[in-house]
């Protein structure tokens, strides 16, 4: 578990920010690290399936259909 103090100790003076903002940054980083690097969850498997489905159905297949129609002249 990353504590605010631990993050601050590592980053103090290394961010180029003024001390107040740097302190707040370190607090936020400790919160993010304690959430396994995610403030909000990643896209789900369903999102990935939908993405690939759209790319294939509304992207690649129409290109193949047009290629067939025009022929690779």
């Amino acid at each position: 578990m990353a504590s605010h103090e631990e993050v601050y100790k590592e980053l103090k003076g290394r961010t180029g920010l003024n001390p107040d903002i740097e302190d707040e940054l370190c607090r936020r980083i400790s919160v993010i690290e304690n959430s396994d690097g995610e403030i909000v969850p990643h896209l789900t498997k369903g999102d990935w399936i939908a993405t690939w489905a759209l790319i294939i159905v509304a992207g690649i297949i129409p290109i193949l259909v047009e290629a067939f129609r025009y022929g690779l002249q």
């Binding site: 993050v7 590592e10 980053l11 290394r14 961010t15 180029g16 920010l17 003024n18 107040d20 903002i21 302190d23 707040e24 940054l25 936020r28 980083i29 919160v31 993010i32 690290e33 690097g37 995610e38 403030i39 909000v40 969850p41 990643h42 896209l43 999102d47 993405t51 759209l54 790319i55 509304a58 992207g59 690649i60 129409p62 290109i63 047009e66 290629a67 025009y70 022929g71 690779l72 002249q73």
Partner: protein
């Protein structure tokens, strides 16, 4: 106790945006996305597409190009920015190096200045045409148009200065109305010209090879889709969920952009002009024409505001801007836009398609490298401390702050594009016929970067990759 407003510092600065500070849901981000997508650039892209294909193949090519390019382009910045709260340029440290990311920013700043000039000119033309209609004259003077374009810059400043909440409220009202206006313009065009005429009109200057013409249309859409990359991170980090960050692109950059481009195609192949400010009034009549022109003008402002907000977030992280107030950073960024509008507006505007082509050669390797690095090499795990560590102790220091592997691949990828297509002249080479230029460059860059990164970075423990 902090002597600053932390929420403000995250919205207008480098602090990661935490869950409680997030202000955009899916509807909000979709409206912003629609407001970004629908601007005069989609009409102009339509005009370029109309050179090669007629209406229905243009619609298919545009939808296909947007679907593939936007979904691929957006997945990394939207995912990473939403989950970490960091913007694109902070995240770029992970694959370009803590100093190498400034190379990206330098290019992108120049491109975004050029885009703002183009859209400001279109704003000015819209307002000029409305004014001329009310005054009963044929057109307003170039000086008038220039002044209006500078007013557009001033409006963008005011919107961006006030930040993401104003951008959201602006787009929540404007974006739905823009979609209605665009559809209305298509209806007016088809009523005046005839739907049969639109769907049967020939393209303007096609090649002999129909398949190549179709691929060129797809390539133009790839270029358009990929060039949204700099605008992804700044908005995504403000979204309440990663889904809201990512899927908003479907509404805006894919579907709305396709409808807008279709309008540009229809106008270009029938009237001979993709510039809606030239035909909205004659075809739409005074009332609807003026309303449509006003919304087109506003659409350019919404796009410019989103573009400017995102790049200024990146600039805020540069040492000389870090302690400057947000308003000053925005103003400094807009100064070269204003200078461009005064000194050489038409040189940029008239070469819009070259701008699109050149930016495509840039964004293909950027998207490829960032996506492969984040999803394949890092398995979506970033060292958050390293992103904000500006010293040599950062895991993203690579060699002197530069990931020379990524920079080398990036530098070689841009001219490699010419193996497939010349983006300025649109003269193609044989390989283009099998994979398009963006497709070919993407595949080659992905393989080359993966191999080189594995050999020189991952296996040598450079760059913070987990083995």
């Amino acid at each position: 106790m902090a002597k600053f407003d932390a929420n403000q510092e995250s919205q207008f600065g480098v602090l990661p945006v935490m869950k409680e500070d997030r202000v955009y849901n899916l509807f909000d981000n979709s409206c912003i996305n629609v407001g970004l997508a629908i601007a005069t650039w989609c009409f102009m892209i339509g005009g370029s597409v109309a050179l090669f294909v007629d209406f229905w193949p243009a619609v298919i090519a545009t939808l296909v190009g947007n679907m593939i390019s936007v979904l691929v382009m957006a997945i990394m910045p939207c995912s990473a920015s939403a989950t970490t709260g960091a913007d694109n340029y902070t995240l770029a440290a992970s694959y370009m190096g803590r100093n190498g990311r400034y190379i990206l920013m330098a290019f992108i700043t120049i491109f975004q200045i050029a885009w703002l000039i183009v859209l400001s000119i279109m704003f000015a033309r819209s307002v000029s045409n409305v004014t001329a209609a009310f005054m009963g004259v044929e057109s307003m003077s170039p000086m008038f148009t220039m002044i209006i374009s500078l007013i557009a810059v001033a409006i963008v400043f005011l919107v961006v200065w006030k930040g993401p909440l104003v951008i959201k409220r602006f787009n929540n009202v404007v974006a739905p109305m823009m979609v209605i206006v665009i559809i209305g313009l298509l209806v007016i065009l088809s009523r005046n010209i005839g739907w049969d005429v639109i769907t049967s009109a020939d393209p303007i200057a096609p090649n002999d090879n129909q398949w190549v013409n179709f691929l060129l249309a797809v390539e133009l859409s790839f270029g358009a889709g990929l060039s949204w990359w700099p605008n992804m991170g700044g908005m995504s980090r403000l979204c309440k969920t990663t889904k809201a960050a990512y899927w908003a692109n479907l509404a805006g950059l894919i579907l709305a952009a396709t409808v807008g481009t279709a309008l540009g195609v229809a106008a270009a192949i029938t009237i001979g002009s993709d510039d809606p400010t030239e035909w909205m009034l004659p075809l739409g009549g005074l009332v609807f024409g003026v309303i449509a022109l006003i919304f087109v003008a506003i659409a350019n402002v919404t796009s410019n505001a989103t573009v400017a907000y995102n790049i200024c977030l990146g600039l805020k992280d540069i040492k000389i801007f870090r302690d400057k107030k947000w308003a000053i950073v925005v103003a400094i960024f807009l100064v070269p836009v204003a200078i461009g509008l005064i000194l050489f507006p038409n040189q940029i505007y008239d070469h819009f398609y070259i701008l699109l082509g050149v930016t495509c050669t840039f964004y293909v390797p950027v998207v490829t490298i960032s996506t492969i690095d984040y999803f394949v090499l890092r398995k979506k795990k970033l060292d958050i401390r390293g992103l904000y560590d500006r010293t040599s102790t950062s895991v993203y220091s690579y060699w002197g702050g530069f990931n020379w592997v990524a920079i080398l691949v990036f530098a070689l990828a841009m001219p490699f594009y010419l193996v497939f297509l010349n983006p300025a002249t649109l003269v193609y080479q044989t390989p283009f016929m099998y994979c398009t230029a963006s497709g070919g460059v993407f595949v080659v860059v992905a393989i080359v970067y993966y191999i080189l990164a594995k050999v020189f970075l991952v296996n040598k423990g450079i760059g913070g990759y987990r083995k």
